[in-house]
C-alpha cells in the first residue's frame, strides 16, 4: 500500500447524498478477478449513457475535473455493498482523498486498506467546498495527514480528525496482516482454549 503523508491535488465535486457502492462500481464489473483496472468503470452508469457515450451532464465528466485526485461529496458516502472494488475503482481512477461529512463503515474501513484517505469534515464545510465549485471553479487542495489539516492557496483551512492508529498505518503504508501475524503466540494460545462445541463437523474433518 502506498503511504499518504501530504497530498496536493485537484478537487472534483459529487454533490449527492448516500452514494452507494453499486453506483461507485456497478455489479457487472465485479466479475473480474484482478485488483486493478476498475477505474474505467467508476460511476459507470452515471458517467456513460445507455449506448456507452460519456454523459456531458454528469459532474465528473466536465473537462475541468478530468485529472482530479480529491473527491468532495455528500453524507453517508459508500453505503450498501461491502465490495472493495469501490475503493479500487476510485484509486485506479486517480483519487487519493475523499471529503464528506460521513461514510458507511465498511467502505470507510476499505479506504484505509488501500491507501485512500477518507476525510470527515462538518457538513457546512463540505457544502462550502461544494458551492465554491458550482460555478465551474476549479482549485487545488493540500491535505496534510501529518498535521491533520486541509488548506488551499486562497486561505481555506480546516482541521480534521482521524483515528490515531489508522493514521499511523496510512502514513507508513503498513500491512495489517504482517502486524497481526506477529501475534502468532497469542493466537495459538487462544485457539487452545476455544470451546469444543465450536469445533463443528467441518472442523473435525481435518
Amino acid at each position: 500500500m502506498e503511504p499518504i503523508r501530504q497530498h496536493t491535488g485537484k478537487v472534483a465535486p459529487l454533490d449527492r447524498a448516500n452514494v452507494d457502492t453499486d453506483q461507485i462500481i456497478p455489479k457487472q464489473f465485479l466479475k473480474r478477478i484482478e485488483r486493478t483496472g476498475f477505474g474505467q468503470f467508476l460511476f459507470y452508469n452515471w458517467r456513460f449513457d445507455k449506448d456507452g457515450n460519456p454523459d456531458p451532464t454528469f459532474e465528473l465528466n466536465q473537462p475541468q475535473y478530468q485529472d482530479a485526485s480529491i473527491l468532495v461529496t455528500g453524507p453517508n458516502f459508500g453505503c450498501g455493498s461491502s465490495r472493495e472494488h469501490a475503493p479500487w475503482a476510485l484509486l485506479d481512477d486517480g483519487y487519493r482523498v475523499i471529503i464528506a461529512s460521513s461514510y458507511a463503515d465498511i467502505f470507510y474501513n476499505n479506504c484505509f486498506k488501500n491507501g485512500i484517505l477518507p476525510v470527515i469534515l462538518p457538513e457546512e464545510t463540505v457544502n462550502n467546498l461544494l458551492s465554491r465549485m458550482e460555478a465551474g471553479y476549479t482549485h487545488n487542495l493540500t491535505v496534510d495527514l501529518e498535521q491533520c489539516v486541509i488548506t488551499d492557496q486562497a486561505g481555506f483551512k480546516a482541521g480534521f480528525e482521524v483515528d490515531p492508529y489508522r493514521r499511523h498505518c496510512l502514513l507508513n503504508g503498513l500491512d495489517d496482516i504482517a502486524i497481526t501475524l506477529q501475534k502468532e503466540e497469542q493466537i495459538e494460545m487462544y485457539e487452545r482454549d476455544r470451546p469444543d462445541w465450536y469445533k463443528t463437523a467441518v472442523e473435525k474433518k481435518y
Binding site: R16, A17, N18, D20, D22, Q23, P26, K27, Q28, L30, K31, R32, I33, E34, R35, N45, K50, G74, P75, N76, C79, G80, S81, S82, R83, E84, P87, S102, A104, D105, I106, N109, N110, K113, N114, D163, P164, Y165, D176, I177, I179, T180, L181, K183, Q186, I187, Y190, E191, R194, P195, D196, W197, Y198, T200, A201, V202, E203, K205, Y206
Partner: protein, 470 residues
Amino acid sequence: MKPRTLFEKVWDRHVIEQEEGKPAILYIDLHLVHEVTSPQAFDGLRLHGRALRRPDLTVATMDHNVPTTNRSLPIADATSAAQIDALVKNCKEFGVQLYDLHSPQQGIVHVIGPELGLTLPGKTIVCGDSHTSTHGAFGALAFGIGTSEVEHVLATQCLQQQKPRTMEVRIEGKLLPGLTAKDIILAVIAKIGTAGATGTVIEYTGEAIRNLSMEERMTICNMSIEAGARAGMIAPDETTFAYLEGKPEAPTGKHFAEAKEDWRKLATDDGASYDQQVILNTADIAPQVTWGTSPGMGTEITSRVPGPEEFSTESEQKSTRRALEYMGLIPGTPITDIEVDRVFIGSCTNSRLEDLRAAARVIKNRQVSSHVKAMVVPGSQQVKLAAEEEGLHQIFLDAGFEWRESGCSMCLAMNADTLADKERCASTSNRNFEGRQGRGGRTHLVSPMMAAAAAIEGHFVDIRQWEFID
C-alpha cells in the same frame, strides 16, 4: 461484574489482544467465502507466500454470479465462468470445503450457513458480503468485510476491529396477520434512516422479536446493514436451540447440551445499557413499500408517494427529487395505484421456506396478472427441495411464476436475471439502489406476501385485506 449486553459478551470472548489506542485483535470462528469478493484475497496469499491458517474454519459457496437456469449447461458468460473457476481452484489449492454449483447444499451464503448449522450462537462470523449480519439472528456477532480483510482472516483467522457502539431496537406488541418481519425492519430503516445505526451493532429486543421464528429473525438481522449498522443480533433462546438441534454441522448429544447451557448465558444482563435506543410498536406499523432509491425511502401501503417538500433538509429534498425522477413516480400517487411489470421472490432476506410458503398461500388458486412476469428463486438447493416436497413449486408454476435454481439472482442482477430499463419490480430483496436490479430498473422492496399479491393484481395491494383461497 458489570452487566453486559449480548454484543459485549460475544465481543469480550473473542478479543485476543486490546492494546491502548489500537484496534482489538478479534478471533474469527467462521469465515464464509464466495466467488465475487475472494479471488483477489487468495491471490494476495499467494503473492506473499502466506498459508491459509484455518481451512477448517473456512467454508465456501458460489451464489452471486451463478445462473439460476439449467445447471448442466456451461456458463455462457466467459468472465463469470472464470470467476467460478477461480473459486474452485482456490478452494482446492488451500483445502477449503466448497459447496459448488452441483452440490445439493449450494445456495446463498447467508441461507446455507444457518441451514448447515455452521451459524451458532456466540460465534464470530465474517464474510466478504455486507449481509453477513443475517447470522446475528442466532446471537452470533456476524459482519461483512472487504476483500483486504478477507485476506487478513484467511492468513490469520483474526481481524483488527474497532469496538462498535451498541443500539437497542425494541419492537413491542404482537404481529397481526399480514404484517411480517420484513415490514418491521423496513419501518425501522424508514424511521432511523440508512445511516441511523452507523458505527453500531444493533440488538433487537421486545415481545415482537421474541415471538418471531428463526427465519423471520434472519430477515430482520439481514437488513441491519441497510440502517448502516455493522451487525444485528438477537439473543439466542428456545426458538434458536430448537432450530439448531439436528442441523448437520451443529454440535450433537452431550456437546449440544453443554453448548445450550453456555448459549443461555449470552443474553443481555439486566441493567446493561446500550449507547442508543429506538422503540417501535407493531400497532404503528403497516405493510411497507419503498418508493425511492434507498431502503430508507419507504412508506406504508395505505399511504401515498411523498413529495420533496415533505422533507425538511435541502439534501433530503434533493435526494427525493432525484429518486422520484429515477423511479418515474409522481408525488401524491396512492401506493396501491403503482403498477408493476415484474415480481422477484428471492434473496438472502426472503427466500427461505417460510417465505415461499407465505407467498404460495397468497397466490394459491389464482393467476399472475397478464402484464406481470414473476419469478421465484429459492435461497438454496435445500430450500428448493423442501419446497418441492411440499408441492409449493406447483402452486407457483400453476399461477404463472417461474421456478428457478438457487442463487442471488435478481437481488443484484449480476447474472442474466435483470430488469430492463424502466421496468418496475416488486422485490423481496434488500436494496432498491439505482440500477441494482438492472440499469434503469425500478425496485420496490416489500415482503413476500406483498410481492405475491402484487404479482396477482398487477399493482400493490394491502395484504391485510387479501382473501385467501385455500
